[in-house]
Amino acid sequence: MKTIRKQLLHRQAILRKNRALLVRGAAFVLAAALSMLPQTSSAQLRDFDELPDWSGAWAMEGGTVFDRATWTGGGGSITVGSRAHPPYNEEWEAIYARHLALRDQFRFPDTQSTCGIPAGFPRMFNLPDPVEFVVRPEQVWILTENGPNVARIYTDGRPHLEEPWGTYTGDSVGHWEGDTLVFTTIGLKGWRDQDQILDRSGLVVSDAVQVTTRMQRNGDRLEVKMIIEDSKALTEPWHVTKTFRKLPDGTRLYDYGCAENNRNPINSSTGQTLMLGPNGESLIESD
């Protein structure tokens, strides 16, 4: 009798344990399913016909100097002696000065020359080659041929990620004010891993950076006004405006497989950009 009673008690214990596991499992599945639902608020989405027409291909104006308003010296971002003047604090001005000195010796490599690291945000507003802006009710996509790079700006009312972990394009959410797209971008890597630059003069920001962007079309121009705030690197907000020119209707964008035939790889130990001959050996003497 004792043995049977013992067995019954044992079976009841197993059943209780299984029930508890089932309840916990169901709760986990429900939580996982809920987390996959879009995190939207009750914001009213616009219809397609209420959105501005940013279709077609666009080209950035003014060359790949990130901040032309404060640029001094001639030429472009690889020209010796030229630079921008963001409101850096002392520590980050020293970092920029080091980068400029390396640039002047052609030893500050463009991280894009690795053909694997994205240009990221906001450098994607500072690239050669055409860009497309795809406007949908719930989000806007920025597609750059060069890279290629993709940014998603959610306009469906969702909040920012609670705990962004620092990525190349970060986390962008925004809304429409008339025909102006207003969005903020957080969760950017900046110079944290030393692989994100704004232009090849060595302009960088920190991983504390956040950008408020206003985009508006005026005729055949698309204006991008950015307010860049960075509690680690800047003493005050940095205002930068980039403009894009509409390219002729029908302009086609193409595949950009950077690693396809990259004959300008970077010597990772010296930062020197090499140039490979037909046999794969560098035509420039390596340091």
Binding site: D110, D129, D255, C258, G277, L283
Partner: protein
């Protein structure tokens, strides 16, 4: 030898003007080419690498000793060239051509493309006789 077909020819005729708007080669440091010097080389096209991130024209040139030497001439991305009317067939293998380039500062057989003229007088890029 006819280096380009007539359809491409029309595109090439407008290339010169369009190429005046060309963006700088954006990818590398720019440390290699002497942009203050123009060098003319004549030879036979070996290959037109119509590839990203930049195109390269491989051309066999006779050096001062009369020996064949392969030169590498870098041009813009195939994408921006395609939008300007240039095609992979613009530099067909075997074509005889004279090129103007910004040569390497260190004398290596390479340079940045400026313009080219084929035997039949067709020109590509920036070329003034």
């Amino acid at each position: 030898m006819k280096p380009v077909n007539s359809l491409v020819l029309v595109g090439l005729m407008v290339c010169g003007a369009l190429l005046a708007l060309r963006p700088a080669i954006a990818h590398h440091s720019g440390a290699g080419f002497n942009t203050g010097e123009v060098k003319e080389i004549t030879g036979t096209i070996k290959e037109f690498q119509f590839t990203n991130p930049h195109t390269w024209i491989q051309i066999i040139v006779r050096n001062e000793q009369g020996q064949p030497e392969e030169w590498s001439v870098e041009w813009r991305s195939p994408n921006s060239l395609a939008r300007s009317g240039v095609r992979p067939s613009t530099f067909p293998p075997g074509a005889e051509v004279t090129m103007r380039i910004n040569p390497m500062a260190n004398g290596a057989p390479a340079g940045g493309f400026i313009g080219a003229k084929f035997n039949d007088g067709t020109t590509v890029g920036d070329w003034e006789d």
